[in-house]
Amino acid sequence: MSAAKRVQQWATFARTWHIFDCKWQDPYQSADLIKKYLMGMHKPIYHPMNDCGDVVVCINSRDIALRGDEWKKRAYFHHTGYPGGASWTLAWEVHNKDPTMIIKKAVYRSMKGNLQRRHTMERLLIYPDEEVPEDVLQNVTNQIRQLRLVPTRLDHIPEDEVRKFPKVMDYPKDYVYK
């Protein structure tokens, strides 16, 4: 194999590092997206027997958004193995304990249970906020687009823009807000 072909091989099979911002994202819908990058299914060279999965760095996992009242209703099951060792923990409790756990479990659940799954999970790095170690961040060359728009709070929009926004009518000056 010539030197040029060897470099071509390295380039084609190089591991890319992607970053994904979990802010206001549904972990279960994002998991299907993250899974594709972790397993390399977004590449034209994908084959299940081909080691072409990428690394995904998830940030802001503390700010994920579950749908409806899932924070109160979704339960995570664990069994210690002893009789009576079953426990059900609610999503908000799990999230308080470890803010990376829900997204990790969602990605783990989205993949098929085979021998490769735990090795693929090793390539998923999750950080609860925006603080990512420098040696991780310097590898990142791509960002995965989010699924949902991150809404902006009204009090975070500059006052000029709020005033300029078209209104149908103005409240009278003596109007009392509830």
Partner: protein
């Protein structure tokens, strides 16, 4: 790929040395016909030898043909090829026309094809004109210098326009046309 193919030799669809392009070299080198002179299982084989074998040998001077009569054993054809493959095939109870077709098959194939799992059903010497894919083909070159994470590359840009945004744009357009009308009046 199923488990029954695990120990099967694997290969690609290829013609050795571009065989058939310009010239054809028969890949069959030697064929041995083993048969019994008395048993009924060899009846078809004996008919083939009596009627077709001489013609076969005359038409294919590059193929060495051996006959091996053996007492009370079933008829067998063994073919050997240029690439070293050896194909063994039982001709027990086969008729003369069946044997003619199988031997024609053995003459024209280029090795033990049935014992090869084809990795791909096509082959090309020039797999790609534009070069193999790399993670950086078709990527936005702005990513090379961007500092990630960046909402410009992270935000969803494929959502349809919201009703609020449409209303705002309609309002802006209306305001601009009103201002134009005012300016025209002033000029008059």
């Amino acid at each position: 790929m199923s488990n029954s193919n695990l120990f099967l030799k694997s290969g690609f669809v290829r013609a050795p040395l571009q065989n058939g392009v310009g010239r054809y070299v028969c890949q069959l080198q030697r064929i041995v016909l083993k048969f019994c002179k008395s048993h009924g299982g060899s009846r078809g084989m004996r008919d083939f030898i009596e009627q077709d074998l001489v013609d076969f040998a005359r038409d294919n001077p590059s193929v060495v043909v051996y006959l091996k009569p053996r007492r009370h054993r079933s008829p067998v054809v063994v073919a050997e090829y240029l690439n070293g493959d050896r194909v063994w095939m039982s001709m027990q109870n086969k008729t003369q026309s069946e044997i003619t077709k199988w031997i024609e098959n053995m003459r024209t194939q280029q090795g033990d094809l049935s014992a090869v799992r084809l990795r791909k059903y096509q082959y090309t010497d020039h797999p790609s004109i534009q070069g193999p894919w790399t993670p950086f083909t078709f990527k936005n070159p702005e990513l090379n210098v961007a500092k990630l994470p960046n909402p410009k590359f992270g935000a969803n840009d494929r959502l349809p326009m919201s009703a609020t945004e449409q209303l705002r744009i309609m309002f802006e357009k209306q305001r601009i046309s009103k201002e134009e009308v005012k300016e025209e009046k002033k000029e008059e």
